[in-house]
Symmetry: C2
Subunit: 128 residues, 2 copies
DNA sequence: ATACTAATGATACAAAGTATCAATAAGGAG
DNA sequence: CTCCTTATTGATACTTTGTATCATTAGTAT
């Protein structure tokens, strides 16, 4: 398969690089200003292709829904990309040291909570 | 306003407590088995009410879309609940110490990446 | 027992993202 | 430069997660 360097791809990539942590919609809107006939699906496809090539990373949301937790305090989770299950991680005081050290670098950002998640494959799914 | 202790509420709460980090859909399906006439909206409403009361916590996804990042390595982000923007946090070696210390506690879980996010209000939004 | 109204269930809707498929346009071969 | 192959596009329909609306139902205080 020979990949083709289309106008749309170049434009989406260029617009993506000009933005900070954009969502797909943000990229889409900006691209539309420059190339009104572009399809929504194309923007999603180009971004996903960039991810597969490893040039781009998705932030949060390997999941596509909210999960609810009984434990009403900040603690890290492990999310399995195979089964979609979330598990608690036992955290030691390195985590709280890490949490409090981050507060120093927030530049006026008022933290309300943390969301620390390890993404990977759980032992159940590895043994299948 | 007088809150009412309905059958549906009791059931949703009970089912939620019986599950580990369930999504709303998981709770809905389980509740439906026991109470087939329950509406989907009711399950969402009860879970949201539990969150407001502080009994339940939502895991990840204050956002409702995927964000993309140029920086192709694991680093923490700050997510503002007012404007929805994501910012990078400068991380020091405490973060990597924290990351590597977590590896010890993973019990066979193979980590592929981390997603560390501080949720709060950015300085721009505070000054409005 | 009655009245008030919080909560429900049905329905429609919105937003994010994917699947499908005919039409288009890269780019290599001649 | 022209033709041909097929990767990519754009339109459309669809799926999933979640919310808004509103008439009906059922807790609860009196």
């Amino acid at each position: 398969m020979v990949t083709r360097n289309t106008q749309q791809q170049k434009l989406v990539e260029q617009v993506f690089l000009s933005l900070n942590h954009p969502s797909a919609q943000e990229v889409y809107k900006k691209v539309q200003e420059l190339y009104p006939t572009i399809g929504r699906a194309t923007v999603y496809r180009v971004l996903n292709r960039l991810c597969q090539k490893g040039q781009v990373m998705q932030i949060n949301r390997e999941e596509n829904c909210v999960y609810f937790d009984k434990n009403n305090f900040d603690h890290p989770h492990a999310y399995c990309i195979k089964c979609g299950k979330i598990r608690d991680i036992c955290f030691d005081n390195t985590f709280s040291k890490c949490s409090s050290s981050l507060n120093k670098n927030l530049n006026g950002f008022t933290p309300l909570g943390v969301d620390f998640k390890i993404v990977g494959i759980c032992s159940d799914c590895q043994n299948k």
